[in-house]
């Protein structure tokens, strides 16, 4: 299936049991090789959107296509094309970091391809001799890098990162940002990421979608949005888009 669109989200609505609306009529497209950022406050629908794209949740209405494959009808095909880093990605406490890398990549790859991917993941994680220690002794940052290493080294065409730097120190956050940018540029992979961090999104993303209460309230490249809303940075864009009072009340 040849297409220039990596992710096609059309009229996506998700209503959870109990009636809570996760996303409401969301439509956007992500081109191949693009880094697309979803911005928004807590509860705006970022994680719900990413989980639907990653085939973890099913839309109540609308559709999501990944490289032309429907996430509901062709879930396994979609999973072959993507790797997902959840917001609170952990790992099996009693395995070593190396065991975890081997397991996560071993399901996707085999032979020489697998060996190369493992080497690459070890290099990305950069955990030194700790890679052979059980994960239960890892810090949050170490676990995050370990999980990210399996996502980036998987060779997937689409990488979904939910708050990739949340809760990490500045040094590790910068390292992760650089890795994402480097892999996207070098491998031509498509990245969709969510973040609260406007600065991070502004520097990393080609295009940004601002979500508020499940709806897409603004979309464009950071520079386009700044011009459109006469703002100095994305924070100001965000405030002008959703209104300061609404942010406080949310």
């Amino acid at each position: 299936m040849r297409t220039s669109v990596a992710v096609d989200v059309t009229d996506l609505t998700k209503v959870y049991p109990g009636g809570v609306r996760g996303v409401d009529g969301l439509t956007f497209r992500v081109s191949i090789g693009e880094i697309y950022g979803l911005l928004g406050p807590n509860g705006s629908g970022k994680t719900t959107t990413l989980r639907i794209i990653a085939t973890l949740l099913k839309p109540t209405r609308g559709s999501v296509k990944v490289f032309g494959y429907d996430t509901v009808l062709n879930a396994v095909e979609v999973r072959k094309l993507l790797s997902y880093l959840p917001e609170e990605a952990g790992a099996y406490r009693d395995l070593t970091g190396l065991d975890f890398i081997k397991f996560m990549l071993g399901v996707r790859l085999e032979g020489r391809e697998l060996d190369e991917a493992i080497e690459e993941a070890i290099s990305i994680a950069d955990l030194g001799s700790d890679i052979k220690r059980p994960i239960r002794g890892y810090s949050k940052g170490m676990k995050r890098l370990l999980a990210l290493s399996t996502v980036l080294a998987s060779g997937s065409k689409l990488v979904i990162l939910d708050e990739p730097t949340a809760g990490l120190d500045v040094e590790r956050s910068i390292r992760i940002r650089n890795l994402v940018a480097e892999f996207s540029k070098k491998r031509g992979i498509t990245v969709i990421l969510s973040s609260h961090n406007m600065l991070e999104v502004e520097h990393l993303c080609d295009r940004v979608g601002i979500l508020y209460r499940g709806k897409l309230v603004a979309e464009g490249s950071p520079s386009e949005l700044k011009v459109k809303y006469s703002a100095r940075n994305l924070e100001e864009v965000f405030v002008k888009t959703v209104g300061g009072l609404s942010i406080v009340s949310s």
């Binding site: 949740l57 999973r79 952990g90 996560m104």
Partner: protein, 417 residues
């Protein structure tokens, strides 16, 4: 002081868990009901041994024999009831004693041994059933003692100088077939021990598979696993298989330890008797034959699949390992105790035993019942029922794993109007 507060927090965290409370209430009700059922079964056995009527055919026309039987019957409060044929007696009373010609003459000798023939019908698969043979032995003993007493009175001799023994030759029948009582005893005992071990195996599988999902949720590794390019049914089956492998490994270790402990214990010379508990897995294999053993292996596989699948469902419903443990523990215990208690309560040796298949855990017992009663239909129907139940639970697991409920859980909140 701080320790007390910490302990209080630990206890309260468990006590306030709805899963724990539900499990506690359920376990209490279950064990009370089960205790009552086992109690009734035990009372029935005791009643049979002490009160139930026994059919008697007196072929010996000797006057002394008539006096001995009359006296024994009086001491047993009229439990001995004359029947015309063995079949009639077995049908009516389950236990029949036939006193052959020459019985009285044999007993009138100085140190005599006489024989009676006992016919016992076994109509339930139960660890207690062979106690019926004990009734024959008890009546035979009473006949011998009474004969001694009457001879001592009539001849004016010291009773302790007399030695009169009545030996019971017992024929055990299941349906219309004659079976070896010792073999049957060993079969029921072996079935019980088999149930003990496979019950442990099944319970551990249930626990491990429940923990497998719950701990993955706790470790926050579940979402990454679910986005790997494999079908959800493969993930579910892998978890069941993993739990089975670990359980088998653990039970092999336990069994080896148990066998060593038993072999290291001093051997006690057990008295032989109808109610002696004997078991040997080899006896089970010999009695059931190759087809029965094959069915037993299949039943073991079905039990493990059932336990693994049930464990996964518990794991999916649980938010963490604590809840999973609080749910899987009582459910596993209920299944395990039910499996063992069924052996005490007993199962009718008829087609109704095939219903055991619906519990999956009861399938091995249904296979034994089929073998004892010589009716293969029982095993076949039970097997089909078990397959249907296992297929249903596996389908449910695959559906649940394929749905988003696995992530967002099961909500019992009402929808807002």
């Amino acid at each position: 002081m701080s320790l007390a507060k910490l302990v209080k927090k630990e206890v309260m965290a468990v006590l306030k868990s709805p899963a724990f409370i539900m499990g506690l209430v359920f376990m209490a009700i279950y064990f009370v009901a089960l205790g009552r059922m086992v109690g009734v079964a035990t009372e029935q056995v005791v009643r049979e041994a002490v009160e139930a009527p026994v059919g008697v055919i007196v072929e010996d026309e000797d006057y002394f024999t008539a006096r001995v039987v009359y006296t024994v019957n009086a001491s047993l409060k009229g439990r001995l009831i004359a029947v015309r044929t063995i079949e009639e007696g077995v049908r009516k009373f389950s236990v029949v004693i036939s006193i052959p010609r020459g019985f009285g003459a044999s007993l009138l000798g100085p140190n005599a041994t006489a024989f009676v023939n006992g016919y016992v019908a076994i109509d339930r698969a139960s660890a207690f059933q062979q106690a019926r043979a004990g009734v024959v032995a008890a009546v035979a003993r009473a006949l011998g003692e009474t004969a001694k007493l009457l001879v001592a009175i009539e001849r004016g001799v010291n009773i302790s100088e007399l030695n009169k023994v009545v030996v019971a030759r017992v024929e055990t029948r299941v349906g219309g077939r004659v079976v070896n009582l010792e073999a049957l005893s060993s079969l029921f005992g072996s079935t019980m021990m088999f149930a003990v071990f496979i019950g442990i195996l099944a319970m551990m599988t249930l626990m491990y598979s429940a923990q497998a999902v719950a701990s993955e949720k706790e470790e926050k590794a579940f979402e990454m696993l679910l986005t790997l390019p494999v079908s959800r049914s493969t993930i579910a089956l892998a978890k069941i298989a993993g739990a089975v492998v670990i359980s088998v490994f653990m039970v092999v270790i336990y069994f080896a330890g148990f066998s060593y402990m038993m072999s290291a214990m001093p051997q006690v010379d057990q008295t032989t008797g109808a109610t002696t508990f004997t078991w040997s897995l080899w006896d089970l294999v010999t009695y059931l034959g190759s087809s029965g053993v094959s069915l037993l292996v299949v039943s073991l596989g079905l039990m493990l699949l059932f336990s693994g699948a049930l464990g996964l469902l518990i794991g999916v419903l649980s938010s963490d390992t604590r809840v999973a443990g609080a749910l899987a523990g009582p459910i596993g215990a209920v299944l395990y105790v039910g499996l063992i208690a069924t052996q005490f309560i007993g199962v009718p040796l008829g087609i109704e035993a095939s219903l055991l298949g619906a519990t999956v855990y009861g399938l091995p017992l249904a296979i034994v019942v089929a073998s004892v009663s010589g009716d293969e239909t029982i095993a076949l129907l039970a097997l089909l029922l078990s397959i249907a139940v296992v297929a249903t639970i596996l389908t449910t697991v695959v559906k649940v794993f394929g749905s988003e409920r696995i992530l967002i859980g099961v909500s019992i909140r009402r929808r807002p109007k």
